[in-house]
């Protein structure tokens, strides 16, 4: 089956637990994710959603796997652009691995569809989100964002 996939690896000077908390805590997310945040209980089977700062739902799905602080797998469907919603559910995998005095974070965002617009859209967003997250964890300050809701 044809697949569209985006993979991004970043190394962050932190601990797996602090990174897990940064990925799942809504107040922390708002600082590095274009002002957006997520709501979920982060347990397998729980719903999750990504919300714009005005409360509209950007993306939604379900927690497929949750193994804190090592691995989180979400199903992910866009909710605000009809042509992306029509592509169905993507899968977003976070893998967290300690590597010396840093943590390796791998994001694998994929969908069983060739040339998916969703993957094209998130390919632009992830480097900004993860660069800001890395700055925030390492320096205490995220990359300032003048944009809201640039994610997909």
């Amino acid at each position: 089956m044809s697949t569209s996939q985006f993979i991004y690896v970043t190394y962050i000077r932190t601990t797996p637990q602090k990174l897990w908390d940064a990925l799942t805590n809504p107040e922390f997310q708002k600082q590095y994710w274009f002002g957006m945040h997520q709501e979920s209980e982060w347990k397998a089977g729980s719903p999750w959603k990504l919300l714009f700062s005005d409360g509209r739902v950007a993306d939604a799905g379900e927690v497929l796997e949750s193994d804190p602080p090592r691995r989180l797998v979400l199903s992910w469907q866009n909710q605000f652009k009809p042509e992306l919603t029509a592509e169905g559910h993507a899968r977003c995998v976070y893998d967290i691995e300690a590597d010396g005095d840093v943590v390796r974070l791998t994001i694998t965002h994929s969908i069983d569809r060739e040339g998916a617009k969703l993957i094209e859209a998130v390919s632009g967003g992830w480097p900004r989100i993860l660069s800001s997250l890395k700055s925030l964890l390492e320096t205490g300050t995220p990359i300032p964002s003048s944009h809201q809701g640039a994610g997909a």
Binding site: Y8, Y11, P127, S135, E138
Partner: protein
């Protein structure tokens, strides 16, 4: 997939000036700190560049030629393992594009292209660039680099 179609792209946003990012790519004293190699060249188009070990041997692990140099904006060079630089099938190319994302924030895009599909070089650089560029960002933002090797 053909050689012309095989590439690795990595984008990172760094809280720094374009001048600082440019210097970090071209000044061996800075490359030593996050890349554990000295990048040696005068960076003029046509000039040789070498990615030299800093263990005192001066041995190069990567060699190539400078293809394009637009200071603080774009740097392009060829990339090959020593001894393979005369084999066109083994020579790839690296392009750095620097853009001001907003004042004080640089978007750095690294495009490593013309890679031999399925080669050890393709696998190696796909693992290596995220480490090198993560460490570069840490060095410029915190003043110290992580120990990744």
């Amino acid at each position: 997939m053909s050689k012309a179609e095989t590439q690795f792209v990595y984008v990172t946003y760094i809280v720094a000036t374009r001048d600082a990012v440019w210097q970090a790519l071209t000044d061996p004293e800075v490359t030593k700190r996050y890349w554990i190699h000295a990048n040696i060249s005068d960076w003029k188009p046509g000039s040789v560049w070498e990615h030299q070990r800093i263990d005192g041997s001066g041995a190069a692990d990567v060699v190539g030629h400078v293809i394009e140099n637009v200071p603080e904006e774009r740097l392009v060079f060829s990339w090959a393992a020593p001894g393979e630089q005369t084999d066109p099938a083994k020579v790839s190319r690296v392009r750095f594009d620097l853009a001001e994302h907003k004042p004080g924030v640089v978007r750095l895009t690294v495009t490593h292209y013309d890679l031999e599909p399925g080669s050890g070089m393709e696998r190696g650089i796909s693992e290596g660039w995220p480490q090198v560029l993560s460490n570069l960002k840490t060095l410029l933002e915190t003043g110290t680099a992580a120990t990744l090797w």
